[in-house]
Amino acid sequence: MADTILAVENLSKAFTMHLRGGIVLPVLEHVSFTVAAGECVVLGGPSGAGKSSIMKIVAGTYQARSGAVKVRHRGALVDTTAMTARDFAAVRRETIAEVTQFLRAIPRVSALDLVSAAGGGDGAREEAASLLTRLNLPERLWGLPPATFSGGEKQRVNIAAGFIRKTPLLLVDEPTASLDAANRAVVVDLITAKKAAGTAILGIFHDHEVREAVCDRVVDVTAFSPRRAA
């Protein structure tokens, strides 16, 4: 399909624990699915099924054991499991945005600076301010480093830093876990707008309401469980 942004093909992942006698912990096998432009695909399944592992492999934070993860980068589908770290860094910079569960605060960098830097380019500051306003982060916090923020406040900074980017692919891992209803609704609006703009979204949502509101298709991750297959 011409508008495929992400194609995961026969992906498997296992952890080899060298410090524990080299035991191999299989996590995923034969993972295959695609995400098209403007589509929100949700990874479903219970805790421990490997949802976050799939997200991290797509993001490049985990290394695939075998299979392919193809991402449309500069117009062509490229296999990120077969490229150098430097090339993958370029794919991340231009093509993949990520909202993780936990914010990695940088000492001394304010919330507004952090979100602006994620956006980059002209007008990033205004856009960052507008996103933080929409997400109801009090303006008195903008100039402060988020290290001391509450869980919900950090998460909103994280969401703003992910959504300010205009990449073809957006990964969102439990973006609403510690948000109240009003802010969950804002996140739903943000996702809807991204979809309308043609962004392909791969997400994990435990919140049913949010999931119902944004999800086009669920990929059941338990189908890729090696234990089930055995």
Binding site: G60, T61, Q63, A85, A89, I106, P107
Partner: protein, 330 residues
Amino acid sequence: MARAITRRQCDTPAQSKDTAMATDTANPLPSPPGPAEGSAAPHTLNTGTALRRAAAHGAHPGADQPRAPGTPDEDAPLLTATGLTKTYGARIGCADVTFSLWPGEVLAIVGESGSGKTTLLSTVSGRLPRTSGAITYRLRDGTVTDIDDMTEAERRRLARTDWGFVHQNPADGLRMSVSAGGNVGERLMAVGGRHYGDIRATAAAWLERVEIPADRIDDAPRTFSGGMRQRLQIARNLVTHPRLVFLDEPTGGLDVSVQARVLDVMRRLVADLGLAAILVTHDLAVARLLADRMMVMKGGRVVEEGLTDRVLEDPQHPYTQLLVSSILAV
């Protein structure tokens, strides 16, 4: 050893750059000593194009040349090390290390004490002679040269204009009894700055960038705290707008509270100036904050490399797994 390299260059006057490089890789001849600071440059032999090229750069250190991101050059490595080996007699310092560094990229080298990371940094930066292997560097005019093909004076000029070296101990990189402004200004004068007022103004601007109060410009770093000294050393190195900076445990001797400021200053400057940097550290958090890519060393060899977060969150090699699992969580 300098003589050996000179002789080889005389033997192969007509070689093209490519064949010369190929020869270097295979040639077991000892390498010349690096541009040791403070030592005289006794060379007298003109090696032709390399010298003229470097001389042109000496006259125009390029401090004011605007960077053009996105030019085709961005796709060519700035520095490439191939099969780099340094032995101390029978003992291995680093063995068969191969990597490339691109403009604007920060590469961290991590490992415990004795893993060879500092030897590798010293060898790549020409401070230690290598035993074998090749290092090529792309000059500002785009020509790629083998460091071996340069004369001692050319390498010293490169180290003064295009490279920076931030030592773990600021006293190793600063002149402790010269004023802060003088420490920064000295590098400017070394690349041709002559106007006192300009030099002082530039030095003052750089002190501000590294968060040293303006009224300390005439104080010697002897009177500075450890964190201030380290930030001054960073200013001294960056004032000439180098393209490549070597960072050797830059926060190693500092309290954690002081580290944050040094790290933040470094992080901002590296990003703002589009610097390439090779960062040696045993602190994985420092590597995570600053580096795009990471190499893990053990026993002088690179055992794992990759994107920084990938190496830290999904380490593959037993040693990396041990290193990562040994971090204390707070």
